[in-house]
């Protein structure tokens, strides 16, 4: 059937000159009465001209073209797409938190400051670290904060030859990019045959030039670094610091404290482990924790409690400085705080245990068709593969696109880089068994399709609002805005 309504029309294409959305109070005098004419723009910007109703229709229609967690399962590895509690939406909308200017006198913002202080304390309690900053705006921003904190630590010790950061080949792509942005040279090390850090390779890479070793725990193949205590000892013996990428902390909540195994610096993603929504790509929040000897170098300010008053004015003479304007993504911090207050040690432990149970259930259920790269129990996520010999020319990316047709988002694919044709699956604890069974059934069905009708899989998706997109041509002649 030919389309009558153009469902991918841009707002500017629906625009009608003179149509108005909201009505605004008019000033008594024109701008020229207050400002010289030469500072005014001669032409209004080319923004859409729609009514309020047009606007509501336009964005509602766009929302319907999105896959989202509220309606479907997101098995995305390393992304921790767990349920985002609705109560927290209401908290961030409260005027008493939302409508507060960051430069308001501290005496008037004790509620927000107390929330921030208590969140710092809760994060300390679950990690065993000495201090936390809430400033970083996202996970990668937290990594950068951690790396720069380490740099300030070494500089204060006049230890200036430490120019290298060691990153295992299983690391998130942000880790090497972060190290580079922090002014370090990246030294990649290969993982051992068991998927964990190869201690020999680490030992060879460590030297008096090593500033930081960045480890993701559990790592990106879903395994806990079994030798973490010894690794920490080796790192410290060489004078370097151990940085833990805490993006996968959902596997460790209540099960292990990074402070116990010698982590010096760590970042969290409040939008992963602590149930804040992803919002289609942000805003996140990436608090960074530090052990006592590194804590003085964290960015400033940090909320402190002085004579019963919460304040941001505490002195931090050794601090690395400031990572962003103001104090952090406080609306996201409020969600993380709410999540932690809804849990205690036992329920947090249950979160991690059920996340691990769900991941292993999927691994065990699919192992005959999509085997795990490392055939052993995993933590909160499992890394499966498509085995080329059984795939009839179908690749992992095709499986991912075909899953969309069955109503599932795709897992993280082709990551970690050491696993060929990887499918990285993280179900999280909030998915029920029926949903996992449905996902397993869809994967099984796709496996059967690959054997009998591989073209269907290769040309997927078929049921989305658009078919397979030619991404290469988009980059060759970029169209990045309306003219």
């Amino acid at each position: 059937m030919q389309e009558i309504l153009n469902t991918s029309a841009l707002s500017i294409e629906k625009s009608c000159p003179g149509r108005r959305g909201v009505r605004v109070e008019k000033s008594l005098k024109p701008a020229e009465a207050y400002l010289p004419k030469d500072v005014l723009r001669p032409q209004a910007p080319k923004l859409p001209e729609l009514s309020e109703f047009d606007t509501v229709r336009h964005f509602t229609a766009l929302s319907e073209k999105n896959y989202c967690l509220d309606s479907r399962f997101y098995p995305l590895g390393s992304c921790t797409m767990k349920y985002n509690p609705k109560a927290y939406d209401a908290f961030t909308a409260l005027d008493s938190f939302a409508n507060v200017h960051p430069f308001t006198a501290e005496v008037c913002v004790q509620g927000t400051l107390k929330m921030m202080y208590d969140l710092q304390e809760l994060l300390k309690a679950i990690t065993g670290l000495a201090a936390f900053t809430l400033q970083p705006a996202a996970g990668a921003h937290g990594e950068l904060t951690g790396i720069m904190t380490a740099k300030a630590y070494h500089a204060a010790r006049k230890d200036k030859k430490r120019t290298e950061v060691i990153v295992p080949d299983t690391a998130h792509g942000t880790n090497p990019a972060t190290a580079n942005m922090g002014g370090f040279t990246v030294v990649n090390i290969k993982s051992g045959p068991d998927g964990c850090v190869d201690k020999e390779a680490l030992s060879k890479a460590l030297s008096e030039r090593t500033a930081v070793v960045m480890l993701t725990v559990p790592n990106t193949v879903g395994l806990f670094e079994k030798d973490i205590v010894e690794i920490a000892r080796m790192v410290h013996a060489s004078g370097a610091l151990l940085y833990m990428d805490g993006a996968n902390f959902n596997a460790l909540l209540g099960l292990a404290k990074p402070g116990d195994f010698g982590v010096d610096l760590l970042h969290f993603n409040l939008h992963k482990t602590f149930a804040a929504p992803h919002g289609g790509g942000g805003p996140g929040s990436g608090p960074v924790g530090a052990a006592a000897h590194v804590a003085p170098f964290l960015p400033k300010p940090i909320v402190t409690l002085k004579n019963g008053k919460y304040t941001l004015s505490g002195k931090m003479p050794k601090s690395l400085g400031r990572m962003k304007a103001f104090y952090g993504n406080i609306a996201v911090c409020l969600r993380g705080y709410a999540y932690l207050r809804q849990h205690d040690g036992n329920t947090l432990k249950n979160v991690a245990e059920k996340a691990i149970l769900n991941a292993n259930y999927i691994r065990a259920s699919l192992k005959d068709k999509f085997p795990a790269f490392f055939d052993r129990t995993c933590m909160h996520e499992c890394v499966l593969q498509t085995v080329p010999a059984q795939m009839n020319g179908v690749h992992t990316t095709d499986v991912a696109k075909r899953l969309l047709d069955y109503g599932f988002y795709a897992p993280t694919i082709y990551f970690p880089l050491i696993v060929p044709e990887a499918l990285m699956i993280e179900p999280t604890e909030t998915e029920n068994k029926e949903m996992l069974d449905s996902f397993i059934a869809a994967m099984t069905r796709i496996y059967e399709e690959i054997q009998t009708q591989p073209e269907t899989v290769k040309s997927a998706p078929h049921g989305q609002c658009v078919k397979r997109i030619d991404e290469v041509s988009a980059a060759r002649e970029p169209n990045l805005r309306w003219k």
Binding site: P48, K82, G282
Partner: protein, 437 residues
Amino acid sequence: MFIPHTSTEEKEMLARIGVSSVRELLNIPQDLAYPHLDLPPALTEAQLTAHIKSLGALNKPVKNFIGAGCYEHFIPAAVNALSSRGEFLTAYTPYQAEASQGTLQTIYEFQSCICALTDMDVSNASHYDGATAMAEAVLACVRINGRQKVLISSALHPHYKEVLHTYLQHFPQVSVQQIPCQNGVADKQAVEKMLDEQTSCLVLANPNFYGQLEDAQTLGELAHAKGALFVYVFQAMSLGLLRTPGSYGADFAVGEGQAFGNAMHFGGPGLGLFACKDAYKRQMPGRIVGIAKDKDGKRAFVLTLQAREQHIRREKAASNICSNEALCALNAVIYLTLMGPQGLKETAELNVERAHQLADLVSKIDGFSLKFTGPFFNEFVLQCPVPAKKLVQKLAKKGFGVYALEEKELQNCLSLCATETKTEQDLQDLAQALRGI
């Protein structure tokens, strides 16, 4: 909490895996596993709701007259009604483009609106905030021309200066020099002297931290005459009315976009706006959405130019940034769509009027005067007869939020902002409170 498993299901699942308890699945060393956590008791949703409200009640509501990089504007109800839809709120980064056309199209429209507002060629999908966007623009300039000197206006937001300092820490060869101010704007003679063939870029905020409008035309020309790049830090709402970074020849235009449809939230999340000339788009950090076609030739939206990014380039990436502030950008594009060119202009005009009415009122009070005499948009600096920090405390008690400038040369100075959210009565009330001190 939020866990659906029944004990029967747990047993079935364990049986499928082939173990008898979750503990058997753990590969955490025994001596590290199951530590004691010292946490307060878990709250129910009802208890939590009461608790959060009681925390909120510890925040004392004030009539806010602070701008300084974070602005209180009216947010039409449709903005949050649309952006809080689960389809937007709980979606992941649009990596699977075919299932994320909604988010991708909103970002394309956002980029288009930012280009239209700034008269720049391209915009990214947004950055953490204005300060980090500015710092990344400076890094891009140094990458582009390899020059090692960065000139910044001393009238930049102090936090922006601090963030730039942080981001440049690992470029010891890059020096930052501050341009002195005269009457609250960059001293042009000083700029001429400081600019040289080693200058990578000139960074100018307009309006600046004191609310003053700079001679951006001349300053941009001076920078370009020495082959330096021009980084323009704009104030989002002002672009409804004021001349654009593009019209002044800016190479990079960055700013804080929170003013468009996002609440203040104690300063975060912000919305970093980042636009540049076409020639520099491959040096731009962060996500960018472009138009593509699907295999039937139908219009589709995708993340593009990804060869700049960390997940492809790893340590050779332009930046380590991974996320954007998608939800804040969504608020902004909905806001701009609702306002349209006329609504935005009228809002900006009302900001100008309110701020000028306030300036007129308070500068007539005995002992108070405007610190600077140049044109301003919606905020200005007020010279006071007493220490400004004391005024902040006294006005807080009376229910007003104002900000004392920290700079040594601006002792006894308040920064005041009046947006369209303030009525003429509000302005009178603040003036009355100042008179009473």
